[in-house]
């Protein structure tokens, strides 16, 4: 029996990796297509990449662990400021080092907000997360000597990537650098979410009492995930600092946090693909609609969101996946 079981186990595993390879290929193709289709809009695409990293990071705690938070930009902004301050005040302008510093900054912010937010449950958790983002925002505002306060932090001029590729006026280097970072993070996260640790996190989302009855520590697991999430958001924030060469207070804002959550819900909670698709859809629609109708674009975005939440509660990716599954089953 056991031999049989291990034989039947292999195809399922391979199928999972095949799907991942397809996913990575799709991201690559989309990235290349974006590069050639929108050569004048690379700045927007680059911003999209930074936000994708934030939404992926949010998905780790909200989608996989079930932690409700409206303060996730604290992790992103900390990464951005860590990288920005290192460059502007300490002369660390090597871009990969800046990203690493941002990751550490984000992880630290993740640790702090994790410890605070996880003390509450449900509504209390949400309120704590809002408090966190406001505190971080205010701290950055007050420490204007380092952060530039409400004027923003400027004077960030990163060196060429690997000493070769200079950041150009069209943002080509920034875009390619971002795509490489995104792919790297995405692959690592795919490994993470299917690992035993990822499974434990999914268990916690579905029933924390059962997980502790298995002898696992719910709190410690969640804090670990928060730190990992901070690493990812920190990379996103640092990348934003590197690519735009400024860090503004808005990166540490409640609005930024809330929008990230909206993008995640739009794309589909609990799936890395959903996080990516939600970000693309939201930023793209926002850009399109705000250009078409600068006065009522927020109304249109709001109406679209209501439509998605009402008619596709699993988000764009989740709904598409469900439909595909139903079609497959029906086809057989």
């Amino acid at each position: 029996m056991s031999a049989e079981a291990s034989v039947t186990a292999m195809p399922a595993q391979n199928r999972g990796w095949q799907r991942d390879l397809i996913g990575i290929a799709v991201i690559l193709v989309a990235a290349i297509a974006g590069y050639f289709l929108f050569p004048n809009n690379l700045a927007l695409l680059t911003r999209m990449i930074a936000i994708m990293l934030l939404v992926l990071s949010l998905d780790l705690v909200t989608g996989y662990c079930g932690v409700a938070t409206l303060g996730h930009a604290a992790l992103f902004g900390s990464g951005a400021y860590a990288a920005g301050i290192a460059a502007a005040h300490f002369g660390i302008t090597e871009p990969i080092t800046m990203i690493a510093i941002g990751a550490v900054g984000g992880a630290l912010a993740g640790l702090i907000s994790g410890i605070v937010i996880l003390r509450g449950h449900g509504l209390a958790q949400l309120v704590l997360s809002i408090a966190i983002i406001h505190l971080f925002h205010e701290a950055a505002n007050k420490a204007s000597e380092y952060t530039g306060g409400s004027d923003g932090l400027s004077g960030i001029s990163p060196d060429p990537v690997l000493g070769v590729f200079e950041f150009d006026l069209w943002g080509r280097t920034a875009y390619v650098f971002g795509i490489v970072l995104l792919l790297l993070v995405f692959i690592l996260l795919r490994i993470l979410v299917r690992s035993p640790f990822g499974m434990l996190c999914r268990g916690i989302r579905q029933d924390p009492v059962r997980v502790s009855a298995m002898g696992a520590s719910v709190k410690l697991t969640l804090i670990k995930m928060y730190v990992i999430s901070g690493l990812v958001a920190g990379v996103g924030g640092a990348f934003n600092a590197v690519s735009t060469q400024v860090v503004g207070l808005d990166s540490l804002s409640f609005t930024n946090s809330a929008e990230a959550l909206v993008m995640l819900v739009l794309g589909g909670v609990g799936s890395l693909y959903g996080a990516l698709i939600g970000t693309i859809a939201f930023v793209w629609i926002e850009d399109l609609v705000s250009a078409a109708n600068p006065f009522h674009w927020l109304t249109i975005v709001g109406a679209l969101l209501i439509a998605v939440v009402l008619f596709a509660p699993k988000g764009l990716y989740g709904t598409a996946a469900t439909l595909l599954e139903r079609y497959r089953r029906g086809g057989k």
Binding site: M1, L192, R210, A213, M214
Partner: protein, 253 residues
């Protein structure tokens, strides 16, 4: 030698209500004990005191002579004291295979690994399917729990407890919510529990209790009123009084 599992003079009061009064009992290796009692006898409170979800006012819980009264629920599980739940607590979106594998990984200290997959660990897969096989769940290994019948979810609940390799197993109404026609499934599963495992079962289904237990403990109004052989319990005057109230005396008179 100290017994495998011991509860020593456990007391708990909620306000003025004494829900657990001076409860002492002990279990040795391989014991099959049923804890029964009328509604409101304090069985659930007792389980929560033992598993660490409630703090007793006084008294101790011991495993192999070691006082675990100050342990939180998680550490008690690690010490070998495992419970199942009265109402199934499972991960709706996950498969039985994932459930059991996760329990095994947790027991082996591998649940924190951030790379790899349990499906690529032959020893984990082998043990997972051995456990599922014991409970006749192999065919359902890859079906999400939300799609399998409640009776089989109850079996998975037992499988999870077994995968943790407990020394003492607390079964909180294993047959609750299972249609009577399917109770035999639970009974078969219980018959296959490891021989040296000490089992304390809380149950309402008397047929199941009398077939399974070698010893019966009766709890009434927070107190142990009987501890002995199942056959003697039915003839005990205090047990009859607790279950039937005045009617027991009335019919006897």
């Amino acid at each position: 030698m100290s017994p495998l599992f011991e509860v020593d003079h456990l007391q708990k009061a909620f306000g003025g209500l004494n829900v657990t009064r001076d409860v002492s009992l002990s279990l040795g290796k391989g014991d099959r004990v049923a804890l029964i009692g009328p509604n409101g006898a304090g069985k659930t409170t007792f389980v929560n005191l033992v598993t660490g979800h409630l703090r007793p006012d006084s008294g101790q819980v011991l495993m192999g002579g070691e006082d675990i009264s100050r342990f939180n629920p998680m550490r008690r599980v690690r010490a070998g004291l495992v419970r199942s739940f009265q109402v199934t607590r499972l991960f709706a979106e996950m498969t039985p295979e994932e459930h059991v594998a996760l329990a095994i990984l947790q027991r082996q200290g591998k649940s924190g690994r951030m790379a790899g997959s349990f499906q690529a660990m032959p020893d984990v897969m082998r043990e997972t399917y051995e456990t599922l096989e014991t409970l006749n769940l192999t065919a359902l290994g890859r079906v999400p729990v939300s799609e399998i019948a409640y009776g089989q979810q109850r079996l998975l609940e037992i499988a999870l407890a077994l995968a943790l390799r407990p020394k003492v197993l607390l079964l909180d109404e294993p047959a609750a919510g299972v249609p009577h026609s399917d109770t035999f499934l639970i009974e078969n599963a219980l018959a296959q529990l490891p021989a040296d495992l000490a089992v304390l079962m809380i149950e309402h289904d008397m047929d199941l209790v009398f077939r399974f237990a070698k010893r019966v403990i009766v709890l009434a109004a927070g107190e142990i009123i009987f501890d002995g052989l199942p056959g003697d319990a039915t003839n005990d005057a205090r047990v009859r009084e607790a279950y039937l109230g005045g009617y027991a005396n009335g019919s006897a008179a």
